[in-house]
């Protein structure tokens, strides 16, 4: 009975989406030549704008670095509040609900609000990244605290270690790799996300891509896109290397 209802809902949803969305299959036929035209105008990329690219890249990196830094600082605070082992249920439950609400707001919406609040430039980007990343990192940090094995801590306590010593030599060594891995992962996400923040005016290389596309300078847009691809590949490489180091 349950399965039948599930299938009916799935099939119904697909049918509704396919039949009511304004999808004209005829447009597919025209898309090919247009796409070809668009791509051919991107070749060859215009590398004379390399200085602008470096500036945009630097701004994107600044947004990602500062956004991650502020998110880490806030997440240590909220992570402790969201930890089941350290806090009373009413505190960690309400903190986790707040963090879930933060994560539910799309980044691009936060960025638009921030641009409205503080104007164009990297600052709204940094604020948006900080806000969004705090929602995720705090949850990760809380889980890192809650997953610390109790046995070694009891052993240190039994050996006469103080609370500070237990934290330094029992809890921190267990938490550090998890926290470092999650932070590096979040930094990579922040970098990718800050690439597109420019689209809503929140600084970075995305702003250049937006400007070039709107002014039909596709060969310059191609250079900016290539720069983004290279940056993402480099950050993936760095992340992979760091992950191996911290396990």
């Amino acid at each position: 009975m349950h399965r039948t209802v599930t299938w009916l809902v799935v099939v119904g949803a697909i049918a509704w989406a396919a039949l009511t969305a304004d999808v004209e299959m005829a447009k597919f036929a025209k898309a090919g030549p247009r796409l070809w035209d668009f791509l051919s105008r991107m070749v060859p990329p215009d590398f004379t704008i390399w200085q602008d690219m470096l500036r945009g890249l630097a701004e994107t990196l600044q947004i990602a670095i500062l956004g991650t830094l502020f998110a880490v600082i806030l997440s240590v605070f909220f992570g402790v509040l969201a930890s089941e082992t350290l806090m009373q249920p009413y505190i960690w439950r309400s903190t986790r609900a707040l963090l879930a609400a933060i994560r539910a707001i799309p980044l691009i919406l936060v960025a638009m609000l921030m641009v409205g609040a503080v104007g164009l430039g990297p600052l709204p980007g940094i604020l948006a990244i900080t806000f969004h990343a705090t929602g995720m990192l705090s949850k990760f940090y809380a889980e890192a605290i809650d997953n610390v094995a109790a046995g070694p801590i009891t052993a240190l306590q039994s050996a006469g270690a103080s609370r500070q010593q237990q934290l330094r030599y029992g809890i921190w060594p267990q938490m550090a790799p998890v926290i470092l891995r999650d932070t590096v992962f979040r930094f990579e996400l922040n970098l990718r996300e800050s690439l597109v923040l420019g689209v809503v005016g929140a600084g970075g290389i995305g702003l250049y891509i937006q400007t070039y596309v709107r002014s039909f300078q596709y060969e310059k847009a191609a250079t900016a896109t290539l720069t983004v691809i290279i940056l993402v590949l480099l950050s993936e490489l760095a992340n992979g290397y760091l992950k191996k180091r911290v396990t």
């Binding site: 052993a155 006469g160 270690a161 330094r168």
Partner: protein
């Protein structure tokens, strides 16, 4: 010889279920005592009490001439006087052998200096000498999560010795090891303790190992002491009754 521990009329229950009942026990320093008995007999609970980590018991308990409080854990230096070896080793996996053994010194060092990574030359000398005594010097720089079970238990013993305890409590120290290794590890533990004049209380599921290494055996069942005798007086029949007979059976309760 001085008295290492005295327990009088100790009782305790977990949510209404009796875990220790009217325990009376004393032990001289330097003595090696084995607590044996079936699962759920109260062996680990008794050791946890002696380590000052059990709450809510009744009776009077004194360990190394300090009276234990049923509601308050002992002070830092008192905790350092009693070494505890855990069944599952309880090592910090990502730290090296050396760092884990150095963790045993934490109760003996200046608090904030050690938090910032500073340990005295004496601390390093003690750790170095214990690593040699326990044949761990070559593994000093290896992370303990890369060691075998036997090596990890040796690290746990070394950490306990680094603490310079006056009494060692070992909870099933060899239950995770194969028989040959178990014998070697118990030999190391009791040998090093004897060399240093430290008393040892260990729990075990394996009566034959207890008979080989302990001076005295205490049989526990259902939270009660069923017998307390010098090792050479404990017969096969007594042990068999402890594990397979009824606790109310006559002739089983031979309390010294």
């Amino acid at each position: 010889m001085t008295t290492a521990l005295t327990l009088s009329g100790i009782s305790h229950d977990f949510n209404g279920e009796v875990s220790l009942s009217d325990i009376n026990l004393s032990m001289e320093s330097g003595e090696c005592l084995a607590l044996i008995g079936p699962s759920g007999a109260g062996k680990s609970t008794l050791l946890t009490l002696l380590d000052g980590r059990l709450k809510g018991w009744s009776g009077t308990a004194s360990v190394l001439k300090k009276t234990l409080d049923a509601n308050k854990p002992p002070q830092r230096n008192t905790r350092a006087d009693t070494g505890f070896i855990f069944q599952d080793f309880a090592l910090v996996d990502r730290l090296t052998t050396y760092q884990n053994v150095m963790n045993g010194r934490l109760g003996r060092t200046k608090n904030w200096a050690s938090v910032f990574g500073h340990f005295s030359t004496q601390d390093h000398m003690i750790v170095g000498s214990i690593l040699r005594d326990t044949n761990l010097a070559e593994l000093a720089d290896r992370r303990v999560d890369q060691l075998s079970g036997g090596q990890r238990q040796r690290v746990a013993i070394a950490r306990c010795l680094a603490q310079e305890p006056k009494l060692i409590l070992a909870d099933e120290p060899v239950s995770n090891l194969d028989p040959a290794l178990a014998e070697k590890v118990l030999q190391l533990l009791t040998g090093e303790a004897r060399k240093r004049g430290i008393g040892v209380v260990f729990t075990s599921h394996q009566p034959e190992l207890s008979q080989r290494f302990a001076d005295r055996i205490v049989g526990l069942r259902d939270g009660r002491i069923q017998f307390d005798q010098p090792t050479h007086e404990v017969s096969e029949g007594t042990i068999e009754k402890l594990y397979f007979g009824s606790s109310t059976e006559p002739g089983l309760r031979v309390v010294k």
